[in-house]
Amino acid sequence: MSLSLDATQLDRYSRHIILDEVGPEGQGRLLESDALVIGAGGLGAPVIQYLAAAGVGTIGIVDDDVVERSNLQRQVIHADADVGEPKVESARRYVEALNPDVDVETHESRLDAPNARELLAGRDVVVDCSDNFRTRYLVNDAARLESVPVAHGAIYKFEGQATTLLPEGPCYRCLFPEAPEPGTVPDCASTGVLGVLPGTVGCIQATEAVKVLLDSGDPLAGRMLFYDAMEMTFETVEYARNPDCPVCGDDAIETMEGIDYSGGFAIQAD
């Protein structure tokens, strides 16, 4: 490890450094890491908090929304004074106040087919904190093409799902080849969401992201974790790589061109 920690860093990260599983090498690794967080909302807020606190050296944040007062019940990096501000700018200020070791790279735009691969390319980990199926399928497909791991999390009212998509493991489409038709599953704005829920699920995603960056522990790969806040239960279900998966199966895609991300995002066989 070429990077050596200065006295302030030895202090700041001391609880990491004394862990055998992290140590100065692991902390150095985090400081040299580049993570992309897609969405600075309910899930993105705790992810950004913990990655920044952990000293992940570069954090890219993609979001095209502005902070609304109705976000503040769960999006804990944004404050009342940030209402009306772009979420990426509010997030940047939060991180800069927390940890000067972190470089924040903001992308005030929507992840879309033309820019997805470019945004994901070369990242050490991508954390999918988006709030819609379209972005989730774009992230999955682009990450697979760029061989980038994804810490996936998604929420619905009182329930969460989390899984980690490693380049060599099954992808999101192995489990869900296509999305439900738009309008089938209602979104947070119309259903409501328990404010703490994305905190729990986002913290699981942040945990997975840090493990991926440290290359330590057993990732949540090939396993979908179900969290039910009301019943306070966690269940994991294993899933395997699907040989018929349109993205990573035997007849894998080589490009995102030609995939229609407007409906169910189906990939038609040639």
């Binding site: 999390g153 799902q161 489990l175 439900p180």
Partner: protein, 90 residues
Amino acid sequence: MEWKLFADLAELAGDRTVPVAADPGDTVGDALDALLADRPDLRDRVLEDGDLADHINLLRNGQNVIHQDGLATELEAGDELALFPPVSGG
């Protein structure tokens, strides 16, 4: 036999768990038919052209039945069945 339902499927069904009359020797498909007969609001949400929709996963004892015999998989005593959809909120 009992079904466990996740996310909006539980809401459409009105319950997170739904017992159905299906016995060892019946198939997973029989148990699904019994569920949909009992909770008809689920039918259009989980079926597509008469088959299970691509984005709905059907688990028997925590294993996806596509790795078994699909809807023709035979049930055994004590089996746990579950249906889950993807969710997208963030």
